[in-house]
Amino acid sequence: MTASEIVHLTARQLRSLFEEGRLSAEEIVSAYLERIRAYDRHVGAFLLVDEEGALQQARTLDERKARGEPLGPLAAVPVAIKDVLCTQGMRTTCASRILHNFVPPYDATVIRKLREADAVLIGKTNMDEFAMGSSTENSGFQITRNPWDLDRAPGGSSGGSAAAVAACFSPMALGSDTGGSIRQPAALCGVVGLKPTYGRVSRYGLVAFASSLDQVGPFAWDVPDTALLLQVIAGHDPMDSTSVEIEVPDYLATLDQPVGGLRIGVVREWLADGVDEQVAKAVEQAIDVYRALGAKIQDITLPHSKYGIPAYYIVAPAEASSNLARYDGVHYGYRAADYDDMVDMYCRTRAEGFGAEVKRRVMLGTYALSAGYYEAYYLKALKVRRVIREDFDRAFEQVDIVLGPTSPTPAFRLGERIDDPISMYLSDVYTVTANLAGIAGISIPCGFTADGLPVGLQLLAPPFEEERLLRAARMYERETNWHTRRPDLERVVAQFEAKQSASAG
């Protein structure tokens, strides 16, 4: 099998070819490394590729297999890791200069689980600094380009992970989703991305952005691979007080059973103003697919969802302003070279270590929590948050799944929104409410624009109903083939370079 054939396989295929002895772990890992070497200089998905570690791990797996040892559910499957998850002995930066040299002495719980499942950790992916952004342009280190069109952003903040899967640098990846940071880049890169219910996956070792909103979740090409990765990372963790002790069902076992009498609620207001026409069209066609499958489609309303973004931009920065206080140049990370005293050392370290968006949000959050403003902003936002949650509670009394677009637009051009924070924030207008409410959501590919840019369909389910969510997504996926399309990187790169040299010339 050629390297190019290997990197177009699903994780399940890789796992069984390895199991059957038709592919060695080393062949698999080498194929992906080769792909990364060839194309990541154009895409920029990775901040760190652990070639040596990944190959070493692959060889160990091959030896263990030769000895007939039992192997984990992700044996020989490469997984790319958003650089917001702590990996013991492997630099973890959150794409921030303030952590440019930070090497964690411990593994995040999800990383430990990946290792126990015998996954191959192939590298750390780029992201918006501290997960703050929707385009990955806020990385302190590099730009990541959308593998479907290198002029465009991959979305964010988990843009590196989404792009890594889309570019076939890795069959799977982990991201984190605080306001849409898994689902939105999944939509913009044409892959599947799932945000689990708050409390479903351990946050221990996930560098906190907004603690009451953050969740770790999987990226993959299709729903079964997504379910497979979720299966590995989900579950209660005694190290995380907010991870819930609820049994994790066997997602793969029931995945192909359609949800009987599926009732789908379409959020009408998400298909009205502000949504790109081609996105709306793709979503309407997806609704038709469900209708044809016998699902009961009804319109629903989430009357307060338009307040999701403003509520989010109080709650998340408030928590972030406190979570990011620890980056001060004392115990780890960057410290300014010149300073007058302790306070000046703090102020300069943070001014030099953080990028513009992080500073903006830290300022906003500090302001929202400060004396005299707490009630008007923070407390008010928490009340609106409850109202938003209650919208969902009411909706889920009538329907099993809430449906809408993931993002109002397909992938936008790099630089297009970077100078206008609010227009950037609005990229998450349909995703952010799920975080505020703490429910589960998934984005799956549902078509392409005329320009060949992928469109994402968002499905939402009540808390801890990931099984229902995956089954509903799988029903659609089996009827369509969007998830089988891969960008032709060779052509995309050639086009991009031609355009570059044309505009340079």
């Binding site: 307060h304 005293d341 050392m345 300022m363 500090t366 302001y367 008010k380 936002a381």
Partner: protein
């Protein structure tokens, strides 16, 4: 209500961020835009609504009072910008 540059400066000190005059100017403009944007929350009637700080209805999560090994000191200090093999070092702090 608009934030003045002086207020933004005060917030910057609370947040331990040093802003250049240009940054302060831009930050003031941008924060005001964002604050103005979030002001629309006032439209929502939240009388008798309990704030929702946390999406989970979970309570009483504890661990047992058991000692487990700490990090070797070398590991604990490894990432520190300045240390003397025993302590983290910082600029002099007066009590």
């Amino acid at each position: 209500m608009a934030l003045t540059k002086e207020e933004v400066e005060k917030v910057a000190l609370l947040a331990r961020l040093r802003l250049s005059p240009d940054e302060l100017e831009l930050m003031t403009t941008q924060l005001n835009k964002i604050v103005e944007y979030v002001e629309q929350l006032r439209e929502v009637d939240t009388t008798d609504v309990e704030p929702l700080a946390h999406p989970l209805p979970v309570t009483n999560v504890f661990r047992r009072d058991e000692v487990r090994p700490s990090l070797p000191r070398e590991e604990a200090l490894r990432n520190a910008p300045d240390h003397d093999d025993e302590f983290f070092l910082v600029p002099p702090v007066l009590e």
